[in-house]
Symmetry: C3
Subunit: 663 residues, 3 copies
Amino acid sequence: MHSSNSPDSSEETSMKYFGCAWYPEAWPRERWAEDIRLMKEAGINAVRMGEFNWGRFEPQEGKFEFSDYRHLLEKLHENGIAVLLCTPTAAPPKWMSSRYPEILKSDKTGQPVYDGNRRHCCPSSLKFREFSRRITEKMAETFRDSPAIFAWQLDNEIAAEAEHGFCFCDGCAKRFRTHLEMKYRTVENLNAAWNGAFWSGDFTSFDEIDPRNFKRVSWKAEYAQFMSSLYTELAYEQRDILRQVNPSWKITTNSWTSFLPDVAPDEIYPGLDFASCDTYLGNDSLEFSHSFWDYYRNIRGKRQAFTVGETGAWNPVTTQKDAYQVLRTWAWDAFAHGAENLFYFRWRQSLMGEESHPSILPWSGNPGEAYGIISRTIREIRAFSGQHPGLPPPESNVAILTDRLTGFITKYRDDYSYFHAVVRMNQALNETGVHADILPLSLITEHTLSAYKLVILPQIEHLPDAVCRFLHEYRRNGGKILAQCRLNRMDEFGKYRMESAPANLQKLFGLHIDESCNICKGVDFREFEYNERTLPENNRSLDVEFMGKQARLLSFMEKPIPDTCRILQEYTAGLYQGAPLFTEHDGAFYLAAPMNREGLALVMRHLLKQCGIPRFHVPPKCQRIQRGTILFYINNTADTAVFEDDGIELPPYECLRKEIRER
Amino acid sequence: MHSSNSPDSSEETSMKYFGCAWYPEAWPRERWAEDIRLMKEAGINAVRMGEFNWGRFEPQEGKFEFSDYRHLLEKLHENGIAVLLCTPTAAPPKWMSSRYPEILKSDKTGQPVYDGNRRHCCPSSLKFREFSRRITEKMAETFRDSPAIFAWQLDNEIAAEAEHGFCFCDGCAKRFRTHLEMKYRTVENLNAAWNGAFWSGDFTSFDEIDPRNFKRVSWKAEYAQFMSSLYTELAYEQRDILRQVNPSWKITTNSWTSFLPDVAPDEIYPGLDFASCDTYLGNDSLEFSHSFWDYYRNIRGKRQAFTVGETGAWNPVTTQKDAYQVLRTWAWDAFAHGAENLFYFRWRQSLMGEESHPSILPWSGNPGEAYGIISRTIREIRAFSGQHPGLPPPESNVAILTDRLTGFITKYRDDYSYFHAVVRMNQALNETGVHADILPLSLITEHTLSAYKLVILPQIEHLPDAVCRFLHEYRRNGGKILAQCRLNRMDEFGKYRMESAPANLQKLFGLHIDESCNICKGVDFREFEYNERTLPENNRSLDVEFMGKQARLLSFMEKPIPDTCRILQEYTAGLYQGAPLFTEHDGAFYLAAPMNREGLALVMRHLLKQCGIPRFHVPPKCQRIQRGTILFYINNTADTAVFEDDGIELPPYECLRKEIRER
Amino acid sequence: MHSSNSPDSSEETSMKYFGCAWYPEAWPRERWAEDIRLMKEAGINAVRMGEFNWGRFEPQEGKFEFSDYRHLLEKLHENGIAVLLCTPTAAPPKWMSSRYPEILKSDKTGQPVYDGNRRHCCPSSLKFREFSRRITEKMAETFRDSPAIFAWQLDNEIAAEAEHGFCFCDGCAKRFRTHLEMKYRTVENLNAAWNGAFWSGDFTSFDEIDPRNFKRVSWKAEYAQFMSSLYTELAYEQRDILRQVNPSWKITTNSWTSFLPDVAPDEIYPGLDFASCDTYLGNDSLEFSHSFWDYYRNIRGKRQAFTVGETGAWNPVTTQKDAYQVLRTWAWDAFAHGAENLFYFRWRQSLMGEESHPSILPWSGNPGEAYGIISRTIREIRAFSGQHPGLPPPESNVAILTDRLTGFITKYRDDYSYFHAVVRMNQALNETGVHADILPLSLITEHTLSAYKLVILPQIEHLPDAVCRFLHEYRRNGGKILAQCRLNRMDEFGKYRMESAPANLQKLFGLHIDESCNICKGVDFREFEYNERTLPENNRSLDVEFMGKQARLLSFMEKPIPDTCRILQEYTAGLYQGAPLFTEHDGAFYLAAPMNREGLALVMRHLLKQCGIPRFHVPPKCQRIQRGTILFYINNTADTAVFEDDGIELPPYECLRKEIRER
């Protein structure tokens, strides 16, 4: 099972592992065999193990104890269950922080964070790093030849800021200063990049820089980026140990549900073997998950099947009788988007500590409805997957670009949610049956864009010069571009540019922009952009005519000054009435404001027609997506879904597969 | 007046003392006589004094000064006003914390709390304990023979967490570790009880335990329980000093308005002579207060009249012309529920510090409307009480059990409000004219339950084995039981059990339960369960048919698997449609979900009929309650109230008393 | 330009300077000439400079560098642009806090505040004070003879609490204790004044006083008042240095938008040469700004033209096509209220740090709509102003008194917003075309009130004895008085008085008051009083009949007991039904509750008639205001405004000027 099943072998990328997180250490030893039996019976062929077990692996400093896991891996292997083994560094044992309090993160006041649950260790602590390397080495040596292991997961949901905030200890601050010195070389360069002159903010020495005191958005973003790298370094340290011991091991980690976990996915995954993203079921966030998968499928700089590292084994929508079925369509949906492994969190409900997490088995250990529906789902998808081996991940001729710097900046700017802007754009495509590849800017090369007919740039506030060149080249070769406001108005330090926007791209779009304004004031843009239902009247949007219909502008608008572009639509109301809202210059389209769903649908209708990409009617929250030769129709709702253009009526919570000749 | 009026003398338990809190130290000495005259004129025959006067009792360390209070007690006694004298340890003088900063509580960061108002002292500080004992000794000796004192109050609204959070100083942490060592004996036992294995949470030594770092709900609950005991110990230290000086003194303390003050009432009151609960008037919390009184009436392990230690002397509902009258019905209501003393807070409005507290006299000291209505109320109730001496507290044949562990756990779990579940259940009874005894589990003995026809267990998550035995025995003797979901699903450490629920009681109810789910998500259950008005549409409840009518399920539901029980009602909607919602097995009823008021009314209608307990129509917020031979009808509203079954029309804010032959 | 244009020269008080804040240090040196050219072209004839430039003025400790500014001042002067030069102490350079961390403010836990942006220095730090003096000296000497300077601004938006909270370092605490000792002389006096007896709050020594621990409202207010004085002292230290170097310099500072910046305007401005208040455009706060200007026009103890130190160069209401016009009417509005200078914040949008502040030029530096509308506005107002030189500030025969102690107390009491009560009252006047002088109590003399026909006391909780005497004298001379509830119920220490209210004024009003109550409970009075739209039903107000119509009482009411007064209106509902609500005793009117806009309009109609002051119909948010011989009609709305009594129809966002003979 071991090497032939490695996730990289491109011939067999259909669904491989259905698994779950299992914490045998927290349950009676007598129960283990029964758990394995029940897993096997359910069709579960993988478990994720070990990520919270450092305390039992190393019960005292330097004393290691792996016999239980050695036994478990054997038993699992005998029963055809593969293991995704984890380094346990997310939850170091209590003795470690008691004996070496210096390993704890510090908050801004110098106070150590609590060590009661997870992620409390300082990433720059030499002592912690030493412990991290040693436990990794011991595990690697112990399980060097275990045939049960199909891959390794480094740590668990590696995060720099999420659980306790960033570490602000002297050690981290010192490493940060060294990083800045290496990056900027002189303090004068740093002052220039950081706009130090304002508010007497010039530094006279790198020693004066204290990340705890940062109040400017871009300075915070720089620290966040530094922290992402520091954690990536820590993970790679573990990766290298594992690779040295057994070069054939496949290695990943798992990112928590977000486009921008504080350890940047486009930074960490290119150095690992495959991507794993935790994606929890929740109806409100369905559109978010679809886009998220479209992103992780491309996160290593090439299209590749991905793993859903964690998903809930339960359905939060309980007021519907048939709501169990959501678990089924959710799994089909992930598979259709390119998942090749899917891990439920967790096998059995925790007795204390994380007791509210929905699990396959309840506290009592007796199988119930979740166990039943998951078993059925596994059987179904494995059967289908067996009949269709080697399905490639979905392909697309539309790309949406995303930018890490814009992500960090908007996070600290307390402004609109940049990644919701991405989702909104992809959702507008999905509702026409089109699925985009979502590509991180940092991995774009001169060859990337040529694969697409349409490239979308949703509110990307900074574009590196190289990407601007690629866009010009792509455009010259006939590709279409859609950009949405705020384009490349910042430099690489997060400062606004002292020139008209979009920098380097004015000729491409045939316009330039000096002025912009917020449509609403005193609004939490974040919530607003994602959920129009929370809008109060008349304050947070501007209704305009758009391409012959009605649309609503949200939160912000720019006033483009046309140079050579054609105006497709003017603002018909508001401060910029009469100015261009939607323009085209020779295949390069510019949309000057965020828009509601209806507005974006009109934009897409126009664009896709121009690109010659066929459109299909897809009901809300449903999916029409092609993977290889299979066309999936998925109904994630409690109502019958009618795919009008395909003449298909799909019952609630169903998934229909249609084999097609041509892709 | 002294010994004959002691609250324990069972022959004369009708209303004894109407009093108020008086702070003569904060007012000009010249005013004292006038205050006493006005009190006497109003019929006030008791004052609560001294609880905030440590600063004047001991103006410098070791220098004591009681002459003012000695004088005041004499004058009060001459005027027929008894004194509830308080130890002043709630508000230590400023010189104490200035000279001995170690007496201050520490917060989680090691920072001392501010000493500007109250409750800032560490309960484990040996220095503070020494001061506490000495002031108590000095007061006891000084007032040893004062005939004015009718009882003592220890401290004031003793609280462990409420005003400054728990103390987390090294001394408290050390005592906690000793407590754990004595309780669990080995760290292995503790790890097993505390589910240490998850998240690498095993301790290798008791020394590693640091309550400041607790993040798991049950660990926090253990610290809270420890703190409750520590404060009880501190209070008992004072009690013992007082008893040694004058064994005839009656001693109490006063709990702030809650079922679960952080110093547990069922822990502290059994060792005192009578219970005193602070209960403020407020229309929204009327149901809460009724249940609260039903609880304090039973808090010492036997039915006993109680004291309302503080109540507001003002009416918050000021948009109604006749709103003053609320003060009258409120006092009648307390009396009908078993109050024998009632203390208004406070005599005269504070000039600075607590100036917003409604008082009998305004700042100017001139009597106004509050003085007038309170005088009238006192005259009325005293006259009635004189004609009916020795009225026992209300009796009941229905008991509602409550559990301290469930209370602590749900408090830290940030889940539903357990005590609101209790109130909701009692309210459903009250609306049929039935009043329950609310009994703390910790005081249940093998003889307790036999006095009842119906015992209700509302969402009690842990039941000790002994109580399970008592329930079986009670059932065998013909008593009926109603349990509501979540029953006994946790062990005594707050961990979920590794077996089907309800543990030890499956045979009694003829069913077992493995699965449950939340009906809503992302909801603050606390607010929600108490106030359905804040419900958004379709997200937080599930409408079902119930016993031929409609009811709404709230927040949570279980899926019982019937073994021998009879299904009275299935779920007619939602995830568990078709599964049992309401069952009976031989007099033991199980309700698998929290329900709205209408639903619980249907449950009670069914139950009371089965038990042969008569039901009466009672309008909302009104009361029909019997105390001894008197049946009280109380209208707490601004509208005429019609008690249909009794043929009584009661004007707004009125109380009717009817003498009846049989109880 | 220099001395002849000084703001004190009373002959030419029409609009003098239109300016903007300019931060040349943060922009390329090559751009400076272009910026000056564009300013000049726009008619800008002043810039505010230097307030955030300490870092470039003193790049290393003791090394000063003014050549850039010397050059800039020359260039500006050559171009007819005057300079409001600022001491740069709001934003000390980074090297200072790095080298001398003791200059940083401490929070309550002893933690230094972050030094990343502004206002982080301790006002009592001797080191910081030394630096502050030295940079002021150096700047004064450097620019001693610069003809470009028309005035100095001390620091920037001096604030004690606003950005980082008060400083609570040992040094500040020590100075505070000295202050208390000098004020109260003995700790017994302090205990009496501070009501120490309650809660054992007596101090036995001044050394025990720790402002970090204050929980009582009045104690906090005392610290706030102390801090206001400390910052005033710091500012005056700079003022004295400047005056010594060049006695002809005019000196001001700028207050942020509030009646009660934490450095009290009525404390600091009497010692400066003219007042400058920052007032940002925002439709919701239009009424607030009008009252604010009426206050700053009188803040130095005499009527004087004022400066708008900062105002936004952008319009937040962007959903209206003609919304740019708001900038024009806003400037006219300020001018009509007595502004003689107006500074836009800021010249060009910041690249990083304060990037969201609306500016005249966008990031790109290219003039757009804001530049255009501001240029037009400047041209217009300067032309008009040139034809009407020497217009005095608006005069009034109505005064509204305000009290600093009430302001501080209500701020910490977390009660109603006292200053919104002032605005509400003034707004009721404005809507009849009457404009009040808003006068700080601290500056009232025996001669002040005689200039008025009507004096209004809105919820002033403390009145010094002298002011009571002035009021009696004023009344004897025939002046009318309107007082609104809560009048003089506190003593000078913020304690409630032990006598009936209004102290010292019972005879004047012919009534006395003992009782009062809140109409609503659990309400944030602050928001509520200002915005009735957030009212839930039936909880936060009381509808009554009033003077033949309907009015709504808000949040609070008193029950006056009439002695000699005439009752104009009784309460017609609520707890006090039948008691007096609005009374008169011989020209002294008392209104016993806060009221909504409709109610206050009825009060004003009655009052103005009694005073013989003519009333005019003014549409909402519009103004009818006279300055000298010019009557301004201003329409701040997007609709046509009809001034019915004047027969004037004013288009949206327009200002009409009418010359009139008699004032």
